[in-house]
Structure formats: C-alpha cells, structure tokens
Symmetry: C2
Amino acid sequence: MKTLSIICFFILSLTNNIIAQDKEKYPLGDYSELTDTKPHDSNIFWNKQAALPQLKWGSTDIRYSKLNIPVETKGSLWKAKAWKGERINAQAVLWSAKELKDVQISVSELTNGSDIIPTSSITTNFVRYVMTDELNKDKKGGCSHRPNKAEWDSSLVADPLDIVKIRDVQARSTQPIWVNIWVPQNTKTGKYKGTLSVSGTNFSPMKLKIEVEVLNHTLPSPEDWKFHLDLWQNPYAVARYYQVPLWSQKHFEAMRPIMKKLADAGQKVITATIMHKPWNGQTLDLFNSMVTKIKKIDGTWSYDYTVFDKWVDFMMNEIGINQQINCYTLIPWALQFDYYDQATNTIKYINAKPGDKHYSDYWGNFLTDFSRHLRQKGWFEKTTIAMDERALDAMQEALKIIKKADPEFKVSLAGNYHTEIESDLYDYCLAFGHNFPKDTKNSRSQKNKKSTVYTCCTEAIPNVFTFSPPAEATWLGWHVAAGNYDGYLRWAYNSWPEDPLRDSRFHTWAAGDCFLIYPGFRSSIRMERLIEGIQDCEKIWILQKKITNKKQLEKLNKIVSQFTPEGLTQKEVTQMVNEARKVLNSF
Amino acid sequence: MKTLSIICFFILSLTNNIIAQDKEKYPLGDYSELTDTKPHDSNIFWNKQAALPQLKWGSTDIRYSKLNIPVETKGSLWKAKAWKGERINAQAVLWSAKELKDVQISVSELTNGSDIIPTSSITTNFVRYVMTDELNKDKKGGCSHRPNKAEWDSSLVADPLDIVKIRDVQARSTQPIWVNIWVPQNTKTGKYKGTLSVSGTNFSPMKLKIEVEVLNHTLPSPEDWKFHLDLWQNPYAVARYYQVPLWSQKHFEAMRPIMKKLADAGQKVITATIMHKPWNGQTLDLFNSMVTKIKKIDGTWSYDYTVFDKWVDFMMNEIGINQQINCYTLIPWALQFDYYDQATNTIKYINAKPGDKHYSDYWGNFLTDFSRHLRQKGWFEKTTIAMDERALDAMQEALKIIKKADPEFKVSLAGNYHTEIESDLYDYCLAFGHNFPKDTKNSRSQKNKKSTVYTCCTEAIPNVFTFSPPAEATWLGWHVAAGNYDGYLRWAYNSWPEDPLRDSRFHTWAAGDCFLIYPGFRSSIRMERLIEGIQDCEKIWILQKKITNKKQLEKLNKIVSQFTPEGLTQKEVTQMVNEARKVLNSF
C-alpha cells in the first residue's frame, strides 16, 4: 500500500507540474524569489526591533538587503528638486519583525496651493530580489564564461520593480518601495507636498512625506531628447518568455509596454536583424533573420520583408522609436549566412568571409534589393547596415560591398576607433575609453552623424550588472556629456536568461549584463537610474546653451568633466553622481 | 620499425581513400564487385575445362553464377522471333579457366538479302554481379526490416548491365553477355542473320550466330503504348549518388538517360512530391517537397512552384513522359506537413490528420493555389493528387478537402479496392490479388479512368528482387492482360540504397525491391525482362483486336488467362512465360 501511495503521489505531482507548465511556463504575474542563502541578521536581532513595522525613506543608491535590518535609512521626509518634465526617483524601506499581510502602497497628489502634481504622475513599486553573481575573479570586468554557477559567489539583490500591488512581507525582512514621479511639463514652478502611505490588514497605516521643488526649467519629452540612446531590443526573447508565436498579435502585445518603456527612455534606434545569429548565438534567445532569403534553383535570389516591415512599422508607428533602423549585420561573429534553399526545402548556410565571391554574391544581391525596398518604404535615410566589434580589414571589405550595392547606404559600427573608416560611418559608437578627436567629432556633428559610446561586460566600474551600485547607471549619462559623445549604446535591453525574474545570472558574463528590464513588464532599479543619467545629460546640454554667466557655465563644465573613466571605485562613483546632481539642480 | 611501417601504410591508405572519395564518392565508371563468398566450382574442376575460353548462347531466364561453369547453355545459334518495333533479348555466356584480357563484344548488322537491321539497333552489355539477399525466412514475401545484413543469406547475382565496354574476365569465371535488339519499326518481314563476336588480346575471337525472324506485326513506339506504366522516379537519389546539386543542370544531365530509359519502357506518369517525406522516409534518399510552402507571419500562405515546374517540364518536354503527373501526397505515412515558417526562419511541421482543422487549412489553401497554378500551366487535366496505401476513412476526408479546393481535381490511389470511393478515383491501382468488378472496370475504361495493379515487397513470386528469376518480371506484363488491368505500378524505379552497383540490399525489404535500374546509367536483367512483359501485354491487346479467327482468339485468351496469382513456384512462372511467349509469337 505504501508503494502505491508513493506512486499515486508521484503521478499527481507530475500532473500538477504539467498543468502548471501549460498555464504559464515562465512567471508573468506573482512569483516566488529564490532563497537568500547569505548570512543575515539573526532572529534575536530582528526580535529586538520594535514590535511594530517601520517605514523610512532610504536611498536610491542602495540595494537594501532582504533579510537584514536596513542601514542608512533617512527620516520621514523626502525632499527633492525636479525640472518640469523630469522623472525623479526615491526609495522607501519597510521592515518588520512580524509578517505583514496584504501590504499596499498609496500616494496622495502633491499640492502647492491650488497647483498639483496628480497621482497619475507617481508610480510606486515593491522592489523584488533576484539572484546575481559577481565580477570576474580578478575584478577586472565581467566578461567570463560561467557554465558552472556554483563557482561564482551568488547572492540575492534588490533590482526588479514589481507590478504586483498587494504583497505579504515576510517576518524579519525588509521590503523596499520604489517611488517615481514624472513631473508633468506644464507644472508650475514651486514646492509640492504630499504623502506616501503604506497599509496592510494586520498593522496600522504608516505615512512618509514627499516634498518636490519644481524648478523653472523644462526637460523636453523623450522623443525630443538629443541623447542618442541605443539599447538593443531582442523580440525573440519576448516571444519565448511569454510563450507566444513570433510576430503574432500576442507577441506584439507582449512587447508593447516593454518597448514603450524604451521609447520613454529616449531610445532612437530600432534593432533589426538581416541574418540568422548575427552574434553567433551569444544570447539565450537567438536573433534570427527578419528577412526571408530564398535561393531559387536557377541560382537567383528572392527576398521577402514581411517580418522586417512589421517589426519596424510597430516600433516606428506604435511605439514611437522612429529615428534609426540598425540592421545587423554584414560581418557576423561567425561567418555563416543563412538562406532557404528551394531545391532541398531546407535552411542552408554559406560559409564565406568578406572578400570572397560567395560573400559578395550573397550580400551584393541582397543589399541591392534591400535598398530598393527601403527606398520604397521611405526608410532608406533612417537605415544603417550595422556592424559590431569587427576588425578594420573586414569592415573595409564590407564597406566596398555596401557601397557597390548602393553608395548612399548608411553604415554603423560599434567598436574601436579607426581613422581609416571614420568618414564612412554614419553611426560610430566607440568602446568605453575610446574618443573621437575633437575636430572629427565637430565635423561629424555638422554632418549630423552620430558619435556615441558603449559599455558592455568589459567594464568593472561603472556598469549595470545586477550587483552594480545603482548610481553607476546614472554615471553613464554624465560620461556621455563629459566625453563629448552624442549618446550611449548597450548591447542588451532584454536578452533575458532563462528565468530572469528569479535569476539574473547567465552562462556568460556577470549577471544582468544581457538585460536592463524584466518580463511582466517590470522595470528595474538599474533602468530607472540609467534614465536619470540620460535626463542629466540632456539637462547639461540644455544648461550649456542656456547659461550665460561664464562662471556658472565653468562650474557646470567642471563638474561634468570629472566623469571620465579613470580607475574609479564604486564608492567614488556614487559620491560623484550625488555631488554632481546637486550642482546640476542648483542652476 | 615494424610498427612504424604499419602506421605509414595506414596513413597512406587513409589518404588514398580520401582522394578517391573526393574524385568520385560513388562509382559511375568502372568498379570492382564485392567478393562472392559462396561455395563454387573448384580450381581442379575449372582446370579440367578446355584450355581455350568458351562462348555459347545461354538463356535470359538464368542468372549465371560468376564462379561456376555455366549450366544450361545452348548452341552457337540464337533463333528468335520479333515484331517490327519490338525489343528482344538474348544472353550469351563466356567462360574461361584462364584470365581473358581486354574482352570486347561486337555485333554485325543483321541481313536479309539487301534488308538490314543495323548495328545501331543492337545493344550488348557485360552482365555484372551485385550482392543480394533472400525472401523473408518464411518465404512469404520480402517485407521485413533487415538492419543486420549478417542475418540474411547473401550472395552475388547477375543483374546490372554494364556500360563499360572492355573488361578483363578473371580466370575460372563466367562472364554473361546481354544482347538486346530493338527491331526498327520500318524493318521488312523476314529472317535476318548476323553474328555476335567476342575478342580479346590473349585469345582468338569467337563468334555466335543470330537469326531473327521479323513477323508481320508492328509494335507502336513506347509513347503510343496503351499500357499504363507507373514506376516511381526518385530524383533525390540521383542527386545524392552523382553528387550534384539538386535541380542543377548537372542533376538533370545525370537524370536524362535514366528517365529516357523509363520513357522507352512506356512510362506514362511523372512522380512529383508536394510535401516532405510522403512515405515517412522509407527510402534512403528522402523525397522532399517540390513546392515551396511559406507560412507568412500574418498566417497567410505563399507558394512557389519553381522546382515542381522544372521537374515536370523536364520529364514532359525533354524526356517525353507527358501523360500524367501524380503528386504525393495528401495522406502521408506520417501525418506531418512541412512548411517554411517566415517568423522563425525555420522549416516547421504541422501535425494533423485528415478531418482536423489544421489539416484542412494546410491543404485547402495549398490545393486552391495549386489548382490555379496547374490550370495556368495547362497541366491540370494531367495531374492527380496521389495517395498510397491509405485507409478508406482517411481517403474520404482527403477527398472532401480536394473536392472543396477544386471539384475537378483528379485523384489517384494505390491500395486495396474500396467500392465507396472507386468513382472518385481517376487512377486506381489495386494491390496484387485485388480485382475490379468487371462492370466497374468497363465503366472506368469508358470514362478513360486508369485501372492498374501493383506489386511491392509483399509478393514472394512473382517479383523483381535481384534474386528473383528474370522471367518473373516478364510475367507481370502478362498478369496485367490476364487481370483486365490497364497497366502496372511499382513504387520504386530508382530509390537506390547506398551503393547499389555493388550491393542491392537495403535495411528494409528483400534486395532490389527499391530499384530496377543502376547508376551509370545501367539497365538490368530485371528491367529488360519487365519491358518484355510490357511489350507482350501490348502485343496481346493488339492481337485481341486484330485476330478475327475465333479459335485463334480463344487460344490467345486461354494462354493469357493463366497469368493469375495463385500459388506459383519459381519454376512454373518461368515455364509459363516461355510457353506463353511462344504462343504469342505464333500469330
């Protein structure tokens, strides 16, 4: 009988698993976090706390530990300055020795006499915890392969901003609360006051005060920002995570809030792929070709742009990311080019390198037709043939083929600086630490060419790993201003690992390297702080034009000029950002 | 040192192998046969033979053993009767105790006074030896899986007719020689005489006499035969064996003599495939879809017929097989339907059965477009949607979908007899042993519908395995006449195993089941004897119309009526065929 029960139980478990999987393979709604296995404040220590839960303002620079009593909390008043049209962030912390049931957050409208900032401009989120790892063992960046997670020091860190609005807070734990205020552009200058309230079914409501001073400056809407933001989108990851057919209506619906958030961050570029695996499959969800390439049996080629057109059209006209289309790539990380082979009814691959006849045939034919199609759609002027981290000689061969197909094709590269091809590149994004010669940059700006900077796994500090201090994300925007760039590129907005909400680690690179936002759709501390930096850069550029007082301008430029990449510590970065932001808000 | 030599030898061998493979992966020109491991006449016995080589006429009913002194040879005169336009076969045997060098065959023209049958009408071939196996262990057919060749009694048998014209004949071996005379249609009635000569560099030339009596009857050209022959072609096997790109010019050039031979056998049907693996991959070289089916991201379908059109056009206009196009299939052996999925840039499969919505969508859409395309090409009237050995209920569901797409679509089935769907089938090929009711057959003939019979691995006797006695192939044509069928179908004209020239065995079915001809292009004893049977059937039908004398007609019909499938032995089949053919040539 015992054996039988065990078998029955086993069968039931199996059935439950299958049903659960059918319902939702990966969590989109509520979910449980992984276990925090790090040493933390003892029960005794927690129980010494007051019996009642506590709520204080904290710092947006801190990823508060889940099972420790929060350190570095502030009082019950958050005072902030903001431009009209700016988004500002705050973090509150709630902690309790006993479990809190059905916790909810609410905010009042912020008032200044009869003027208000409405509650619809204020977003609050419970901060959630995700598993992260660490820098490379030598602390010199995060670009290592990490097939064995056990070899890496892992811990639970605060990063995702949850969409679930009512939560239980477990006994002896800290629950951070993220607050974002997007000051309407038409708000009048002045001090606005309001409250943040936290309530639940087994404790008395608690309140914190908010005081926002709206300055007499206006930040334009994101679509009008000059900052050239290029975070690469991965539609394939969304289809997999949401378990929806690629390019179906459901897929686009799933992408809509994710891409809208990106548009709100000032994104200018649509990431498109014109071949299978442009980066040789470095992401969990491979980028595939958005163009159908058919080799017919007479050796001629036939192309279809249905997917490409639908994706670009969605991003341009429904999301509002409409300034540039970067098409990856003519020089992929593995020189293998896919096509549908009509003769054999299979997907085949050409192995060829720039300079080979097969390479020229494959790309020459395609680019000629692609140019025709883009011109017909009215997109030609916005499109670049995009390359990532390729060598000079390969770039030169590719440029020949592109220019032969259509001399007016724009080309982009993210990589090192090469004088030889600089003039051929419409959108040239330099690796962190590389600079454009000043004359070159001026000349590029006059021609309206984009000159930007990127970071990836290489940089230990500053970075946007899930374990990076939040201020490092803000630092990046200041670096754009300091380095005389036009904007910033990161290779992965949402190339999620298998289960990103619970585990941000991936089999290569430090955790969080391949995404800035979470499924759900959920934002992150990193993303919000990155937007702060972008806003700061935009504000700097506005002030640099607006300030007429020379001393004032020197003061601004001096503080900006400090944001250079020389050997900073994490602590220095956070301090720099805080001090600089104070100066920025003093104008 | 010894070890080193062995290693060197090994490396050299490897290198040679690689070079040989690069040159020609599978033999097309001359090649070596596998070793005959069966007991055979001893050296002593062979050496008792006359020192000089011997040449005699033999019988086309015998697969002469390679290493035995031939038994059942005839004299030095071959006397035969033939209709004008008929092909007749003879076999000579050459054997020798000593090796014969550079053996060549030549023939004189056949003369009758000043009338001639020119040498261009006479083909001679060295008969070659191929590895075969045997019937199932219970001797009831050959439909077994044979993954382990060692479990099956294997031997070398005479079958391929070589294209190599000068050969050495090894000491103590028999070399059969196949002779085919295609009497020109304009030949005058009368007796024609000539000689067959065999010469070499180390023996005196030898001669055999030929005497062909040309009767006062004319067999039409194969394209005008009424016999509805349907041997399924496998273009994919040709591309693989000849190592040429599918549907390339080289591929068509390789197929040309192979398919021309089929046209000369009176073939009426082009085998076309409209999906991947219609028979779930039963052949070594899988049939793929000759139609490009693209599922676009909006759920609509796009079709391209380039491959289909090129194949059909080649067969119709270059080869002359132009009466019917059978398109496999709506009900494959595994219910899995391929398409190119534009969203994911992959080949995908729909799993659905007749009656399912997915099935109707996939096929309904396609058939509607296919009908449009076929009508545009002027091929609609010649095309059938073809099914093989499917059950009644599945056929009925498929018929619904076909008729819905275009009520005028012709449909074919090779399978058992079902009254319920008989009237829906334009081309109905019954399994051996099944018969059409007489009224039904007459009614079908009046409507010009095709009513044929097929054999496959099921039949032990008669069959066309490489070990089947040659007369069994001829028997099949007589059976068509006896069973009141319109023709004959076999599922495999050239679905070659890996190395068919040397080894006719396959991992399923008795050896030779999946092909009748050899690469090179080379015909076979089986193919030539099958053509004899087809000619005989055609002759019977002509005589049945032509003979006015009632007794004569009864005599003919009586001998024909014996060709029914009841429990024949191999010996009986050969006797029946010989006796019946004598009668046939007596009119």
